[in-house]
Amino acid sequence: DARVTQTPRHKVTEMGQEVTMRCQPILGHNTVFWYRQTMMQGLELLAYFRNRAPLDDSGMPKDRFSAEMPDATLATLKIQPSEPRDSAVYFCASGLVIGQGSYEQYFGPGTRLTVT
């Protein structure tokens, strides 16, 4: 049963510290998405990649957030320095887009980040 995995599942850190979240997309998927979910803002797209190339990161605060795909099996989202307002659940999702096919995204279980 293929699924998206994310680590860590929970992270508590102090303001100013660096946070790195990792995602392993489903093997064979060619798109990867990072979302942030909060009580107030709901589900927000931060960045997405197709064939490992970043296509859109307009939803991401550039000064402190960075997203990369070192290889097809790993996507990372880094926050440096972290701030309390970054506290949220961060989801990674992957999908397979071919032509005008389905845009279904498979979500991971999320990383719950708390910045104190």
Binding site: Q37, L43, L55, Y103, F107, P109
Partner: protein, 113 residues
């Protein structure tokens, strides 16, 4: 994942009844729509999708209706079960160049046994 929003609209139904969850979208250029279900502590899970060249699509116990005239999308769940209790999101994709989805704010479905 966290449930979304202290002020999520909530639909409460009795077990066995049919549920209808509505979603309004604003971009007439949106050409693809998905419904997701999110249970407490989990990521969103795909339910059903529909393209803008269709007005109805059926799955197992679920039906999605699309009314492009009024930019409205609905999800119908037949014979609602306690396991259907979750937050439901509609998402849309706009245009041919952008592949990302834009998610709505969600509706909480509560099924009373």
């Amino acid at each position: 994942g966290e449930s979304v929003g202290l002020h999520l609209p909530t639909l409460s139904v009795q077990e066995g009844d049919n549920s209808i969850i509505n979603c309004a979208y604003s971009n007439s250029a949106s050409d693809y729509f998905i419904w997701y279900k999110q249970e407490s502590g989990k990521g969103p899970q795909f339910i059903i999708d529909i393209r803008s060249n269709m007005d109805k699509r059926q799955g197992q116990r679920v039906t999605v209706l699309l009314n492009k005239t009024v930019k409205h999308l609905s999800l119908q769940i037949a014979a609602t079960q306690p396991g259907d209790s979750a937050v439901y999101f509609c998402a849309e994709k706009t245009g041919t160049g952008r592949r990302a989805l834009t998610f709505g704010s969600g509706t909480r479905l509560q099924v009373q046994p």
